[in-house]
Every structure is written in C-alpha cells, then in structure tokens.
Amino acid sequence: MKIALRVNSQDVEAEVEPRLLLVHFLRERLRLTGTHIGCDTSQCGACTVHLDGRAVKSCSLLAVQADGCAITTIEGLAADGVLHPLQAAFHEHHALQCGFCTPGMVMAAHELLGRTPMPDEAQIRAALEGNRCRCTGYQNIVDAIRAACERAGGCT
C-alpha cells in the first residue's frame, strides 16, 4: 500500500505492507535509527515519536495509520547541528547513561513542555510514566527537564 507522510518536515512517500510497524518503517526504511525498540510491547516508551504533535509509541502503530500525518522523531529536534534545549539539558545534567531510553524520554518531555510550559516535579514525573529507564534512577532526567523549561522561561 502506498503512503504519504511528512517525517521531520520532509515529504516521504513509500510503498509498505499494511502490517509494517511505524517504528520499523522509521528505522529500517528511512534509517532514522534514533527511535529505539526497547520492549516491543508498548511498555517502555523507547520508541516514542510525535504523530501530529502528540507523543505515541511507534512500536504500537502501523505505518499505514500514519498515512497523511506529520511525524517528528528525535532526529527532527536539533536544528542546523545545534542541540534542542531539551537535548542540551539532558547532556548537561547527565540525564543519560547507556542512552537507550533517551530519545523516547526527550520526545515525551517535549510533548509535556508544549502543553505545560511550567510543569512542577509531579507533572514531569507523570509525563514520563510511559517511559522506562534502567540506568539513571530518573532523578537526573527530571532535573534536566526542569532545567530546560527554566531556561525557556517556564517552570515553577
């Protein structure tokens, strides 16, 4: 089946099998391997991307469901080689160790800040409920997200 969508602000057309998962389409067809597959069972959030501005788990969507939609992956955040403020804050606050969960964490946090520019700690933690990290213990991730919104003039 033919699909047409926008991925990181670029038009993409492709012929796909209906059973192809969105995450496989992104990673294997478009070679956007920043989106990770952790659990493959909708639990861990490593595969989080934005579909029309909303965070979704791309391991639990079919590529055909994204036909006509706009997708943003972690590769779409940095502009001209300059890290997005969230990415920079993750870097500065040591919010990653192995880094496997990081793209999903950043995409989940990005949706939160779009909706709630001044989240408190409880709201940040609630927004990460669908994302697992097996390394950091989360504290530095929360700190990084707070720092990113403080720098943007948000955060209480």
Partner: protein, 299 residues
C-alpha cells in the same frame, strides 16, 4: 514481533465501513480504532484478522457534544481528550478516570469506544459506563440501536456489539441535581490495569439523604458489573461517611473475584470494600458541592 499479513482498508464514513465489513467473510475482519489493544494483539498473533478496517479516520466518530438529552461522546474520543474536555467539566469522574489509564502516549491513541468494545475485565471505562448508566450507540446494516450499559457486557471480552456493527459512541443523561460521581482504582503493579476499580454515583434528595446510588465494578469478576446489593443498601440511607463505610462493610454479594498471581480472591474482595468506600465518599463530597478533582487519589 511482526503481525501476520492482512488487508487494510481505511474508510472515511460509517456507511463505507459497514460496506467493508459486509464484503468480508464473517469473523475474518477486525475494526481498528486507536490500536492500543489490537496492535499488541496482532504483534503477538493472538489476533490474525484477514482484513483490518481502520475506523480511525471516520470524522463522525469523533467529538463530544452536549445535546437536549445529555451528552454524547464519540467512540474515537481518546483517553487524553477525556482528561481535559471542557464539555465534561461538570463530570469530573471522566478526567479522574482518564488520568489513571495507562500513560500519556497510550492515552493519546486509545479510545473510549475501543476500551468498551474490547471489554478487558480490568479496563477502567466499563465501571464508569455502568455507574453513570450510559447507553452504547451501535450502527449496523439494520440501522442504529442503543444498548444500556448493564446489557452491554455479555461475557469475558464479550459485548452486545454484533459482528457487523460498529460502536459509534456512548451517551449519558444530564447530571441529576445534587449528584456526584467518582472513580477509585488500585493499579496492578505490572500492567497498570485495575486490580479493582469502582465507579460510584450518588444522587441526594432535598433533605440530603441518598435518593439513588449506582456502583460499577471492574477488575473483580470476569465481567464488569453493577453492585446492586450495595446500591440497595445505600438507597434512602443517611449520607454521611460513616453510613457509607457501614454499607460497604456488609459486602457486595455480586462479587465473584478472580484470584491470580497479582492478587488472591480474598485480597480483591478486601480491596473492593476499600475502593467502593473511597469512590462513594468522593461522590458524596461532589454531590454536596465540595471537594474537587481528586488529583491525589488513585495511586
């Protein structure tokens, strides 16, 4: 994990969707809404439909509308939309329930219609649907029909939706005067689904006594149910927290709890009393016009 192959169609209207279903051999097609239950099932090959009819692009299934009879919620309205819908501001039980379903990403995709149609025995919406006495709106080759919440769940993962029908939405009557409702849930630690979930609605009379109570329970039996024994005990009783606890302590005779590795049957029964008490207490506070959004409950 890769699903087995299927044909995919994405109709834009209900009529077109019914026609797609009609062209399939009975039992070989599956409807796809948000996909948060179905896509994982496809990946595990628990479900192997020959055709997937994606109803996710049918505009008529979206939206929340207040009308003369009450409120209509389209089948495709997502958990996330129910969390913040201004049309539901006077029914805080919706946000309170949506908030404890899954996680933000799943709430962005999963739908009210999909949750009711899937009828997972530990899903949250069925309890609310029962307690508020909603009606399911079905559309099929023989036209539209409505099924009351209490007749909707017919068995484990079973509903009154015919194989050739689509759940188009649910409707709820206007909020009665002096009424309040609430949802209280104990999460199963691994899945986040309800170990026990209780939704309650209380309507008070002018003197402040309980005129009507309705209680919907999920996670306990194989099929979600109305706790009629508790409702009967509450009707006409004084509406103070002590009376509510006393009524809960006498038990819910309809409960026939499942025991599994997450909770024994006895523990579920215990939790049922606790959460029925909490849901009723919060429903009472709301019926009296106090106590707000329950943000610090349900964890």
């Amino acid at each position: 994990m890769i699903p087995s192959a299927f044909n995919y169609v994405a109709p834009r209207s209900l009529e077109e969707a019914l026609a797609c279903l009609g062209r399939c051999e009975p039992g070989t097609a599956a409807l796809l809404a948000g996909g948060m239950s179905l896509v994982p099932a496809l990946k595990l090959r628990f479900a192997r439909p020959a055709t997937l009819v994606d109803i996710g692009r049918i505009a008529a299934l979206r939206g929340i509308e207040a009308n003369a009879g009450g409120i209509h919620i389209g089948a495709l309205v997502t958990h996330a939309e129910l969390l913040g819908a201004p049309q539901l501001a006077d029914r805080p039980v919706f946000a309170e329930t949506a908030r404890v379903i899954a996680d933000p990403q799943v709430r962005n995709r999963g739908t009210l219609g999909g949750s009711l149609a899937y009828a997972h025995p530990a899903a949250d919406w069925p309890a609310v649907f029962l307690a508020l006495g909603g009606e399911a709106e079905l559309f099929g080759p023989r036209g539209a029909r409505a099924v009351a919440a209490e007749d909707f769940f017919t068995g484990i993962f079973g509903t009154a939706i015919g194989a050739d029908e689509i759940l188009t939405g649910v409707r709820f009557a206007h909020v009665p005067v002096n009424a309040g409702s609430a949802y209280s849930k104990m999460r199963q630690q691994a899945s986040g689904m309800a170990l026990v979930g209780v939704a309650a609605q209380l309507v008070l009379d002018a003197a402040g006594a309980i005129r009507a109570a309705s209680v919907g329970v999920t996670g306990v039996n194989a099929v979600p149910f109305r706790a009629r024994s508790l409702e009967a005990r509450l009707q006409g009783s004084a509406s103070d927290p002590a009376a509510l606890s006393a009524a809960c302590a006498l038990g819910i005779t309809e409960a026939d709890p499942l025991g599994d590795r997450h909770a024994s049957a006895d523990y579920r029964l215990h939790l049922l009393g606790v959460h029925a008490g909490r849901a009723l207490a919060r429903a009472l506070a709301r019926a009296r016009g106090s106590a707000g959004d329950g943000a610090d409950y349900n964890d």
